[in-house]
């Protein structure tokens, strides 16, 4: 056993000194390898982190939302439907929500306006998300002008800017009082945007949804779990799309490494010949080349993963933002919670190290099976 270890150690010794001697020649390959790992790792880290964020945020949202559908479109619902729905067995609480989108012509952004009974909001005052504050260059105490439904202007004072930590959901949020909301949008009293239900037991949801549909046949019931699943699917899909696009880059890298491995320089060939002549077996040479490949792979892998970590979690993935987060003018500046798990690294390993290894196996073997007596000539 110790012989085997010593043999590995000796061969590794030569491998490392060879690699260091040919730094410049291997530099291009190493850079390309690290780049590929970096790109793929960034995509995976980012989509995973976003999925987890979405999941943790949705965890706090209501189990079911009841919306009225009119002519196939989402329409306002009677606010007193809430009272009726709260009587259904299993429903803990049902309350009406008032919210909508406001298009701001000044910045070209869409804000989400929510009527909230939050303490600290008097009529005429609003709480805004940091994205809104940023776009409108408003701080606490400043006023923002909104264009009401009847063309008049409504000035609302910023009472509070929502904390940065919640930026992913609150960036484009504006919290107003109910009165101001109705004044702005002209929503008649007695009507709400939708009704949210809190249900204690998840297993009762299908039954409650059915009953709600019976009472109010013109509504649809949106379950939180469906939302969660949709988010996950979207992030998966986007992440997967990027991976496929990067597949082109991956292929180019594989061809490059195969080419490099086949086109061994005369110097390298001579060295292998010498090794075989002085008593190295083919398997010893293959071992050396394998160690070379492994050293390069591991270093590139670690380097790429580290860079991706910095990229995604410290700079919030600057390079990928547009694709993964969706197309929006109003962009939250936020930090993703760092999260890596072993399966991501394993998948990364399969997508990068495995193809590289496969591409170099045959050229390696061919270089190693040189006849020692050729060297004598």
């Amino acid at each position: 056993m110790s012989r085997w270890i010593e043999r590995q150690r000796n061969i590794l010794d030569l491998t490392l000194s060879s690699l260091l001697r040919r730094k410049r020649k291997n530099a291009a390959l190493f850079a390309a390898y690290t780049l590929i790992v970096f790109l793929l790792a960034s995509v995976m880290f980012m989509s995973h982190a976003l999925k987890r964020e979405a999941a943790s945020i949705l965890a706090g949202s209501p189990e079911m939302i009841v919306q009225r559908i009119s002519a196939g479109r989402h329409d306002l619902i009677a606010a007193d439907a809430a009272a009726k729905l709260s009587e259904l067995p299993g429903v803990q609480e049902a309350r009406p929500r008032l919210w909508g989108y406001y298009y701001d012509p000044v910045t070209g952004a869409n804000f989400t306006l929510v009527a909230s009974g939050e303490a600290g909001l008097d009529p005429g005052r609003i709480a805004v998300g940091e994205g809104v504050a940023r776009m409108r260059l408003a701080s606490v105490g400043d006023s923002i002008e909104f264009k009401a439904h009847d063309g008049s202007l409504l000035e609302l004072e910023v009472g509070e800017i929502l904390p940065r930590g919640s930026a992913l959901v609150s960036s484009d949020l504006v919290l107003v009082t109910e009165a101001d909301f109705r004044r702005l949008f002209g929503t008649p009293a007695g009507l709400a945007t939708d009704i949210v239900l809190r249900v204690r037991n998840a297993r009762e949801l299908p039954t409650i949804a059915l009953k709600a549909a019976e009472i109010y046949p013109d509504t649809r019931q949106v379950l939180r779990d469906d939302l969660l699943r949709t988010y996950q699917a979207v992030f998966d899909w986007r992440g997967g799309l990027l991976v496929i696009i990067l597949g082109g880059g991956l292929l180019a890298f594989i061809i490059f490494s195969w080419d490099k491995a086949t086109g061994l320089s005369a110097e390298a060939r001579r060295e292998i010949g010498i090794l075989k002549a002085v008593g190295w077996e083919t398997s010893d040479v293959i071992l050396m080349k394998s160690w070379e490949g492994m050293a390069v792979s591991l270093t590139a892998f670690l380097g790429g993963v580290l860079l991706a970590y910095v990229h995604v979690f410290l700079t919030s993935g600057v390079l990928f933002e547009p694709v993964l987060k969706g197309w929006s003018v109003l962009y939250p500046a936020f930090r993703l919670v760092p999260y890596i798990d072993l399966s991501q690294l394993a998948a990364l390993f399969f997508l990068t190290v495995l193809p590289y290894t496969v591409a170099t196996v045959i050229p390696t073997w061919r270089a190693a099976t040189v006849d020692p007596d050729q060297v004598m000539r």
Partner: protein, 226 residues
Amino acid sequence: MIELGDVRKVFNAGRPNEFVAVRGISLSVEAGKATFLTGPSGSGKTTLLGLIGCMARPSSGRIWLQGRETTSLPERFLTDLRRRTFGFIFQQLNLIRGLSALENAMLPAYPTGEAHRSIRKRALELFETFGLSPKEHARAEWLSGGEAQRLTIVRALINDPAVIIADEPTAHLDTALTLDFLDVLGRLKAQGRTILIAGHDPLVSESPVVDRVVSLRDGMIEGGAG
């Protein structure tokens, strides 16, 4: 020590560029003696050395090493045997550029699984014997002709082989260095090792160190078998 029985080596058999390098050679190499193989280029000296030194397998015929037949051994076993039994000195020196003299000397011992430390110790002792100690860390390409020659000898000795094989070792050496080299060979012979040299150099063939001269021509021994 080494026996060859009607050995033949054919390259590219069955193809238009078929070439018979060695045709039916039978030879007996005595242990502890120095044998010199001579003959014009193309006479098969290098191929014969390769066959004797277990670098290649004969197309037909049989080879025995210390009583054991090595003809059909697979590469793996053959290489292990070769490593332990033979030390090679090449015409073109064949040192790896960029590696230090010490590393070059230690290479043949790496695959044996011997501890790095013990290989190094032995290499340094040999360096001492051959006056190469100050050049331990020098890169192989910076050594002078004589130093490089001595390094190849150290490399050949690293596994303490019973047989030394040298292919045209004095071809690029001047008289002084050649005589030095022959002196070294004499000392190695005194240690009980068997020496095999191939070449044209009359200084070697006529040296008292050489016990026997075998002439080759066209892949066969001139004047019958030995």
